[in-house]
């Protein structure tokens, strides 16, 4: 937990210093290393009842609503990582995340992190072995997933913590894959 707070603090300071849209993060999709760029002006909120709107004066919803997910444009003096962090501190169950793009442009499609990590373990590992291994990293299983053998949803906080947790697991070299549980723009056709 300490590490996460430290990471948040470091990123926060970077974001204050860096121009918006220029801060990038990497994550792993299977074995592919991918890059996303944070949009410092936007936060995503995933609960049906908003905590952002009443808390952040001047926040405006952009691009309609994606199910229960809203994307908020923040007032100019507020950075998304800070707001997301603050919302979670103020509202214990708030699910708020910075918004990311696959391309280095603020108009590209949105991604955000409502929390948790999708981890696929080696097929030879038993359930008990997996839970044991995760508890060694101080992580907990949310649920076993159905889409692949030995796939688990592992608990993490929303936002950048999700990327950090996913990368931390993947970079142990002990798992098949570990990716943040992204929310991304998908639309009804």
């Amino acid at each position: 937990m300490k590490k996460l707070i430290l990471l948040t603090l470091v990123l926060t300071s970077v974001l204050h210093a860096a121009p918006v849209h220029k801060t990038s993060y990497h994550w792993y999709d299977g074995s592919q290393k991918k890059t996303v760029w944070i949009n410092a002006e936007l936060v995503g909120e995933f609960d049906e009842t908003s905590v952002v709107q009443p808390s952040v004066q001047g926040a405006q919803q952009v691009r309609g609503q994606f199910g229960t997910t809203r994307i908020w444009r923040l007032p100019k003096n507020q950075l998304s990582a800070n707001v997301a962090s603050r919302m979670r501190q103020q509202h214990a169950r708030a699910s708020v995340s910075p918004v990311f793009h696959d391309r280095n442009t603020p108009k590209a499609a949105f991604r955000a992190l409502p929390g948790d990590v999708i981890v696929v373990f080696k097929p030879t590992w038993s359930d008990a072995q997996i839970k044991n291994w995760l508890s060694g990293l101080n992580l907990q299983v949310v649920e076993k997933m159905t889409h692949e053998k030995n796939a688990y949803l592992v608990q993490s906080a929303p936002g950048l913590a999700s990327i950090a947790t996913a990368n931390r697991i993947y970079e142990t070299g002990q798992v098949v894959s570990s990716s943040p549980n992204w929310w991304s723009e998908r639309e009804a056709k």
Partner: protein
Amino acid sequence: MKKLTIFAVLLSLSSWCMAVTIDHVDYHSSKQISVTFSDDFDDVPDARALVAKSYILSNTGKGTLAASPTSVALDSGTTYLMTWAAGEMFNGGPLTIKYVPLNITGTSAGTATGVLPIMTNAVVTGPRAMTVVFSEKLKDGTLAANYTLTGSGLGTIGAHPAKAVAGPCISVSCYYSLTWTAGEFVGSDMVEVTANVKDLAGNVINGDMDDYNANTGPYSIAPALTKVAVTGLRTVDVTFSEVMKSDDGVLDATNYAVSGTGVGTFATNPDTVTLVKANTYRLTWASGEMLTAKDITIAASTATDLVGNPVNSTKSHLKGGKGTPPTILTFDAKSPYRIDVQISEPLLFPTVNQYFTLSGTGKGSLAMYPDTVTPLSGNWYSLEWDSDTAMVGNGALTIAIGYCTDSVGHICKHTLAKTNVGFGVDPLFADQWHLSNTGQFSGTTGEDINVVPVWESCEDNTCRGEGIRIAVVDDGMEITHEDLKSNVVVGGSYNYLTKNSSLAYSSKDKWSGHGQAVAGIIAGRDNNGIGVKGVAPRASLVGYNFLMKGTDANGVNALTRSAAINHISSNSWGPPDGYGLYWGAPTSFLNAITTGLNTGRTGLGTIYVWAAGNGYSGSMECPGCVDNSNEDAYANNRGVIAVGAVSNLGFKSSYSEWGANLWVSAPGGEFCGDHAITTTDRTGAVGINIDGIYSADDYSNRSYTKCMNGTSSATPIVSGVSALVLQANPNLGWRDVRYILAKTARQVDVAGGEWTTNGGNLHFSHQYGFGVVDADAAVLMAADYEDNFGDEIIFPTPVTLPATNAVVVNEAIDDNDSNGVTATKSITSSGIDKVEWVDLVVTVLPGNSTTMPTYSGDLKVTLTSPQGTVSTLAVPHSCYEDVCDNYLLWKFSSAAFLDEDPEGDWIINVSDENATQTGTFVSYDIKIYGH
């Protein structure tokens, strides 16, 4: 006292001093010996030598002789002859005789002579009995194990009797009865009985005379029926008195004949005979019926028992007949004034209208009795009323039958009630041009999916999607909607917001309703007097509202949830349209699809149907951006059926994306003003026709809409057709279903569709795929489908990213030159006879700008097969903000080569068709799927 003792000792000494001894002992017969003393008793006269009690016999040869002889006589000289009246010596043992008066003994030099017993006769006296006769009484004649039977007449009788009992001895005949408790002799055949016995003296039976042949005579038992029991409506169990030979007629149905007052309509012989247990067999009739509580008699013949005795026996189950009166199995309203009723069996007089009575809230103006009754096949009866009368749609109906009889005389008395069945014409069906285009709304007659003939092709419930389960993966589904609820699987849906099966749109959310419209297109309930019809109007629906919280985890869950029992996954969603960009899909998605294909429907594979995309006409953010479905990694996945949309004129809908990955097309319509697709909407003024968006063109009943359009509409239509296909042939694999849809699709827009005929003799268009789905043709092909693709072959190996088999080209592409760079890949020994699908992974990088990747918008990419079929994978296009992503390991797909032979040269061409930017064709990797 002392004096007497001394006298006795002196007397004894005086005798010993006289030295009379037994000189020898001789045998004369089994009852006579002689004793010769050493000296004449004249010297010591002793009359006691003639007294029998003076001698005591002992030693092993004594046999059954008494200790003292019966009589003693002087033979001659000093020899005395001793005779026993009874008993005999044991043959072979020595004898010792003691002469008591002189206390002297003598032992025979040789062995005693006994008489050996012999078997003098053996006779079979009963089915399980025989008598053996011996020359004398036996010591161990009652030990059953001492008798052994052999010979051809033995049959199933045991080699040793169960019991041996001694009978009387009359003169030299001693009788022993042998009995068995099971088995039997073979009639009139020979058995040989061997005895291993001793007489009372211990003399062992004479080896030459220890066996005897006996004729089994008439004492064999023919099998008989001991029990006949009616065990079911078409089964009678018969039990034989003994075990029957399995391969000698007992399983032959023609060896059994039924008769009796309860025989009803049973055929004389059963259809099958099966062993139940031990001696019991089950006779089964495939058709016909007994008469209740009447006698059932079975005659069995020809079959034999284990020793070959044939059965010829009859037995009855008195009052055992089991029959059932006719009952109503189901009924179905076929029109407002026609109800088809299925009875459990034929009626004796099938056209009597007053056998049937109708009641219930759905009865409407129909009379109690139908006007006519017409028998149909399968015990269906079509009841018709005056066509000026009509029942009430969606009402409750009760059908009763009475007074009729079945063919054996059981009297009908049965009632069946159903709710939500009253036939009402679906009022909006007339607007559903996608189901039946009659030219309404200025459409072209016949430009529909030809599904009505499928619905009309069956009387029973086998052609409207019954039993097929379809998952609507979307933003939700109102499971209580009046026109869906009959088809919704109770407890089968999943709500990703509430994490339970209670799927409903949130009351706070008044805008969503897309999944609701999709569900109605698939399986809006038919003939209920309200709303619409779905393509598969009796299929089962489950809804997964993953778009309400569209995370990767929820997405892959929705795609694989209940995969074993969901037949079809209908997906009218994808990445944003109209940006000119390509959109990847996470690895978890690809793996979920693979899992569904491999494990769904217990290995037959989930049918994934997917919207090709609506970005052909750009978007509000980028009006000039033209999407290609091949730039959507969801829709161009090998495992999904990508569906394009057509209008009611039979042309590609203006928004429908083209692409080499398109498999088929289906109606999606244009826009509400031009009439799109009529389907269900959320109940009331929410959803698609919410206030503010509600179009004056739309219905006043706002639980329905005619403004649903898009490849979102075309996709559930193909899902519905797939349901009908699977219902016609549930054993089809996912590749079979795709193939049937492609082979039976109808070519449209022949002039403008840029159709090509590929090397597999299939028409293909990058605008339409293989054409518009034809439900009737697909169902007919499915019903008789015999192709067997076998396992899928992927050549050279499955695509993995980064592309492990990438061929490096590294050639600069001339700017603004349609010739481009060509690479040739020669495929040999692929093991594939016919192509099903081709993936091409391409990397093209800009040469003069790496920071703003705009180059891919200039490029045209084509793939030409060895058969000469050209598939266009990408064309120059505009991108959102004029920034097109690079083709960095981008996987294009093509369906265009279906059924072609893949062997030969595949040609990849990449050309830059716009000026200014330049780049390099870096690498490619081709994968061919087929069989």
